[in-house]
Symmetry: D3
Subunit: 166 residues, 6 copies
């Protein structure tokens, strides 16, 4: 019964989007905001590690700084998820999924990795988040017929980020 609903909805959507591709100009979507957010998550983890390494007294200054790093990490992990959800939910249509069948699983991975970087201080999870969003960005730009390159982001920790070639 669920399958019926989906195929009914699918048909409904397909028709809409066939029209959509003719009549309505595309919106402004850019995965760079999600990519910056994911890089920021790694950065916050590095600052947390540095802070802990300094050791010393764990008074209110330490707490003030640590709680700010945690809050910024939370905010950017969530932002990365939200931005990808918008592109996936608003821009990606069934024809894109047909061409790139990995898209749903990749979007889901990004959600799970985003949550993991909130719940833990696992740097590898944050690097995986950056990479998964890079992959998403590559597909996104490919759907628009724009080639991409990888370059080091111009801020610490200088991770590789996917950019469109403009």
């Amino acid at each position: 019964m669920i399958h019926q609903l989906i195929s009914k909805l699918d048909k409904h959507q397909r028709i809409e989007h066939a029209q959509a591709h003719c009549d309505i100009p595309c919106g402004i979507y850019d995965p760079i905001t999600a990519q910056i957010a994911a890089v920021t998550v790694v950065r916050m983890l590095d600052l947390m590690t540095d802070l802990e390494a300094k050791g010393g007294e764990k008074g209110k200054d330490y707490q003030n700084t640590l709680s700010r790093y945690i809050a910024v990490k939370e905010e950017h992990a969530e932002k990365a998820k939200a931005e990808i959800r918008i592109i996936w939910g608003d821009y990606i249509k069934p024809p894109h999924v047909e061409k790139f069948p990995e898209l749903h699983g990749l979007a889901h991975q990004i959600m799970m990795l985003g949550s993991k970087t909130r719940q833990t201080t696992d740097r590898q999870a944050a690097l995986d988040l950056v990479e998964a969003i890079n992959k998403f960005a590559e597909i996104f730009w490919e759907t628009k017929g724009i080639t991409t390159k990888r370059a080091k982001a111009p801020y610490a920790p200088a991770l590789e980020v996917v950019y469109p070639v403009l």
Copy 2:
């Protein structure tokens, strides 16, 4: 290469979640907030239709009321999407997707329908949104081993909503 990433990430996640099911108690997820939000979208469309039907002069009172209906519609369509994204992205794990392979497509439909109810005044799209979220709720409760029923929501427009049997 993307497939490799996903399968690598998958493996990574699987292990994590095997542990997760042992060590960490489940969170509090409840699709009812998304369901109320979707019902509210239909309600706003009905109020917009009523307002337009009254006709008469379209002065600032009319605009004040209409713009509030539109804004509430926007807000609740977005809330429905956000709440489903949270359950899909934070609670749903690969084993759930294996058991209910329609989950990714259904979550994606909800995003598209949510956006359509924002972009248009199409009542059928809003009804489809309510129904798609009902379906999602049925699967969600099934994953928790809780049976569900359908009952009329205790507010206009008295649509059928899926509830857990408690």
Copy 3:
């Protein structure tokens, strides 16, 4: 002089609401969102107690987890207050208060208890919050002529929650 204002305002409102009951269909109010939020506050306190009990090193992982529990507790205590304020301030009218004269005091208790659960880690205050909101829900559904029941919520800590019988 204040009493004069109130009685003047009262009269003003009464007339409005006599009309309101004829002309405008009721909105969609549901205390369940406040109830879920209050239950979440108890849940966070339980997770905080578990975390502290584990003892061990209080490094950045501990802080990351604890600060997330605190933030979610804050957010949901505030959400519980906000949702009740909306029903109390937007749905409840003088005739309801005449019939249920305890409503103002109950709403005020909910505000105070909500704040107490933010300011402290007192589990009893959080249980009192759940119960006070359950009472509010019972009155609310009674004003709509809908009977209620109590059932264990389908998530930890499985507290009793008031539900409408649909």
Copy 4:
């Protein structure tokens, strides 16, 4: 049974607050933010009236301006309600209510008037909101032993606002 809960909660709270008055310094509460917000609601209504009076073509410029006035009106009516809710729910304690028994009713009036100014373009309702919040401010400052005066606010529409004498 509800009365029992309230009196039980009351007792619980009283003890807490007897302690609270000894141990914890008072927070920073100031009704001026609610007062400015309420005055802004009147201001927006005046600008809406001016705009409509200009007549002329109702194209996108007109809509852009009108929808901004409506949105600012919404935002400030809601802000006025939220600020009063905070003072009423966080600062006002049962002993204050004993001394000023009109407080609950007055807070409820402010919520209703705030909602009315969102739902309509009724200038009198907005003036009533300003006045009800002025009354609330007078009581608030009296609980702190600070006398008040009334003066014209230094911005249009130059309504009388209650200020503490400092």
Copy 5:
């Protein structure tokens, strides 16, 4: 080339504002919200110092209280910056800057001090923030032809705040 843009923009703006001063009534701007926010930052630092001084066990209660003080400090430091940015960016026009050439530098100081009070627990920085915003308030009221006085704020820590004489 940048200078050319600015002078081009300047000319463009000047003309607009010459018209603006004739045609559009002034908005409702009041630096008091920024001033209250800055005072709150000092207050939070004092409460953090008190809490730390109590010493004792640093369990979840301590963390709950400390993290709330830090969060409120963050929020109000940011609010102070945002409110000043609004007055500086929306109300202050080139003719004001000509008359008070220190305005840009003062606004920039407020941004930097606001950030410093977020990043550190330096009480002097918070006092400097209060004072810089007081200065901004003096200029603001002077541009409106309203004289000001200084009085102790009616809440701890009873700092001197600039008020308009009404």
Copy 6:
């Protein structure tokens, strides 16, 4: 007296930042989010013009679409302002202002243009906003020793945007 405060604050800040440049790694700032936001403002104005040009009946569908364009315009104009304020207020320090004395005036122009694009439907103001933020981006990247180029943004209306050469 104000000048004294500023020079006192200045000295205070200078010392801090001399230290800051040794001890604390730079944050992640990127003007691209402001640039995307400004381009979105132009896009919304174009969509508003297209919608109006279609003419026809101005019922609830028209209002739904128009009010969404206006709201997105509002949101992105404000976002552009907020993002520039963050870079200007948090990253830009007195030594940068000494080297680029136009920075304060440019930041102020961006605030005024951002407000103008909210208040009006003037496309030229939106183009000026894009250009002013492009200028700001050029200076920003220059302070980091990174060269820039101009390229057409990969979405309508394909305006020239400043990008770092990576």
